[in-house]
Symmetry: C2
Subunit: 491 residues, 2 copies
């Protein structure tokens, strides 16, 4: 029998007290799975409550997925969280998954994988890394590296990065810099400080890196996908989005966008900044790939072009050095960075200091610059190899988006090819990639796929794209009826 | 002039569209600081909207701190976020700070600091660490360490920790384990998966480590402090809290609680588990100090005692090895761990792999065990030193909570001493500590303070506590009127 102790004098409303009580009774197995709750009338009479109080409590339980109400039949416990032996039924307790996350982590060794946007392992400068680590571990600073540190980051690294940004005309006196565990954490801290708990819109490139889309999707923000064309985000579409939806955040990748590889030209950057200022939005400049330009001239960053405190810039060592060492940084208006540092302390105290110290030494010793030279040389070779292979092997009608750097080539196969549909065949032939479906916000284009070329040798690239071309041609030769029969009829 | 374009057909309610528009106009400086918004009547007539729609939009703006409504005078922009030159006024845009966070990071070298619960730097095994790092960087696995890894953790470390837990009778087949960036991140991931977006109560020890209190405070959860006595959390008080408030999470520190140093006895653990199961709550066993027992016998963990899937256990290398290397882990029911791994991927992709690999090698080589032996020997000496110094130097009437391990001694000075009030004097004499105010949830006790002794040598401990005793005695000798005169009159 249910006997809630409700307190009308409490500042917690009665319907919530009743909800909490019923929730606990369900979780504790006092009302079994499939069991019926008292009717709202019976319970309101038994407890001397308004019917609407009971109704509100039941509605909250239904929203939580604990209870299902069937008109005319009553309210039932969906399934008990408490299974046999008083066990918690976790699968029931936890809410549904949100975004589609591509499989993480390394692929099997014998597959040519275009699936992960990461640097080449064969280029890792192992001797230089060993020397760097020796210097750090043997150095005078080592005790402070091993001890607990400040949330804003390992101080010598933070000061180095501030100096570097200032020398490039960024980071004015009223701006500051925070070390993060990669760009992903910087995005997460921005979500905590600027989005969480409010009703905000976030404008994203469409298509976009799924880690940014899923993060804001989960935060409950309204997402607004702004189309990416051949020259990055479409300026006119962004202007319309800013004026109509008034997003709080606009997240843009200025250079070699993931997945399209596009770069926003200088004049478009100026126009975007003007729009962002007019709309009172915050522009997040996610410049994770900027250092990896293989050809052409660098374009001034949004942060270099802005003097109005609307830009937050994200960078990271992970694409230019060792992704397993999780060190990135974020710079922008000092009050925002202070809040992000506070949020970081609650998230993980501070980033790992051994890696921060190793990367600082790697930069200061000049080894990162030498390494970057080698990466840029190899990157150009690999970019040219994937362009040539795509032109040679992929079916007529394939569109390849031009890129001058980074790690990704955006390919759109002609109709009726479906990049997700042919992936299993490609994988059986030893080639993997990510189909476009992982990257869309509002759009869909079945033929799109991302080829992450930077981690592969030129001969692997040539062979992998050739196999992909073979799979495409076989697929196009197959009678279409064989395939559509597998799908249920659309009525 | 304000000209919002509102869309009655949109799924976004009109009051939110209007709020978004006005918000943007304020942020963009179209309505200056101190400027008056149109009256609700004028705006509703001009736009053909219900008065209540405009009122709801204004109320949201007021909640956000953008607008202040004065009865009979109208609604005013509090201050414009857009300052001179179209700049964003970040201090206005950002919400207020939440919890009181103690100062983080290292203290000046010449202060005897009891303020930070961290291991002794003089005991860091530098030669062993150097050998470990050499082995890792020279080992066969090094490429996979440097490359991007899986969110659940560096696989060899994860497997090692799973084996270890199984050998200790924990981690059944339906449980799993995730590497985190210290215990703080495990708490943060639990908040994301189990608390965020709901209306939940979290039961915490009172006093408690501020990192856990501030995290859940910020998440919007209702916090419920359960008093800690001489033997850890008070079982009867916890039973009442579980039955009355139905918390979703109960966070307990079984061993050497921070700040009180207390350990929950075996029978109390069994009783707590029974209550938690009855209430359908989740018990978070934050066992960050368990390995640092200096005397007495270990007590079975909640996870060892539970077979019902109600326990999530947190551990970390940070207190037993090097806190600057941010590696902890969380184990519990597999569906929960899967959700936490997904949340972790959105938070920071994965924890730093260099530190994970270094700590794995440090454990596997037997060096951690040797190091722990030395830490336990030193810890006992330091614990006895702080106990003896407290008995000898602190004023009559001081209460010291008994501990058998960990890093902290909980001291309650007799009235009228105020631990926060005398801290500046102590600091001028070269001694620092954390006053109790940082640790309370619902209670207050002005005389309480935490002495973190583990990072100090015995002679520093003796000298530091002697100075603290001197400061206390001087304070008690001073005429009280001298002090209360400094406070404004209470009327």
């Amino acid at each position: 029998m249910l006997r809630p102790r409700l307190d009308p004098a409490s500042e917690i409303p009665l319907y919530r007290q009743l909800r909490d009580y019923l929730r606990g009774a369900i979780l504790a197995g006092q009302i079994g799975g499939g069991g019926r709750l008292p009717t709202m009338r019976d319970l309101s009479e038994a407890l001397g409550l308004h019917r609407s109080t009971v109704a509100a409590a039941y509605e909250l339980l239904e929203q939580e997925g604990l209870v299902r109400t069937q008109v005319g039949k009553g309210s039932f416990v969906v399934k008990s969280f408490a299974g046999a032996g008083g066990r918690l039924a976790w699968d029931q307790l936890l809410g549904p998954l949100v975004g589609e996350t591509p499989p993480a982590g390394p692929s099997p060794r014998d597959v040519i994988s275009f699936a992960s946007s990461r640097p080449a392992e064969d280029l890792f400068p192992m001797a230089e890394l060993r020397a760097t680590v020796d210097e750090v571990i043997g150095g005078r600073d080592v005790t402070s590296i091993l001890q607990i540190g400040p949330p804003a980051g390992f101080p010598p690294l933070r000061l180095y990065l501030i100096e570097e940004a200032r020398s490039q005309g960024m980071l004015r006196e009223d701006e500051d810099l925070l070390i993060t565990s990669g760009c992903q954490q910087a995005l997460d801290l921005l979500e905590r400080v600027l989005i969480r708990g409010g009703e905000h819109t976030v404008a994203l490139e469409d298509p976009v890196y799924p880690g940014v889309r899923n993060l804001f999707l989960r935060s409950g923000a309204r997402l607004l996908g702004v189309p990416v064309g051949e020259q990055g985000v479409e300026v006119e579409a962004l202007a319309r989005a800013l004026s109509a939806a008034r997003p709080r955040l606009v997240v843009l990748t200025p250079n070699f966008q993931n997945p399209t590889g596009t770069t926003i030209p200088l004049e478009a950057r100026r126009a975007i900044l003007k729009q962002v200022r007019k709309a009172g939005a915050v522009l997040v400049e996610n410049d994770i790939y900027g250092a990896l330009r293989y050809r052409g001239s660098p374009v001034k960053s949004f942060q270099q072009l802005d003097a109005s405190g609307h830009v937050v810039r994200l960078r990271s060592f992970s694409k230019m050095a060792f992704p397993g060492l999780r060190v990135g940084w974020v710079s922008g208006p000092a009050p925002l960075i202070a809040r992000m540092a506070e949020a970081k302390q609650l998230a993980d105290l501070h980033s790992d200091q051994l890696s921060q110290a190793v990367l600082l030494r790697f930069v200061e010793s000049g080894r990162l610059e030498e390494h970057l030279h080698r990466m840029l040389r190899a990157g150009l070779e690999r970019l040219e190899a994937v362009e040539q292979a795509a032109a040679k092997h992929l079916p007529r009608g394939t569109k390849v988006t031009r890129t001058d750097g980074g790690m990704n080539l955006w390919v759109r196969l002609p109709e009726p090819l479906d990049a997700a549909g042919i992936l299993p065949k490609a994988q059986r032939r030893g080639v993997s990639y990510l189909p476009g479906k992982y990257f869309w916000v509002d759009r869909r284009e079945p033929g799109a796929l991302r080829l992450s070329f930077a981690g592969l040798k030129t001969e692997e690239i040539e062979r992998g794209v050739r196999i992909l071309g073979d799979v495409c041609r076989e697929e196009m030769r197959e009678p279409r009826s064989d395939r559509v029969q597998l799908e249920p009829a659309v009525v």
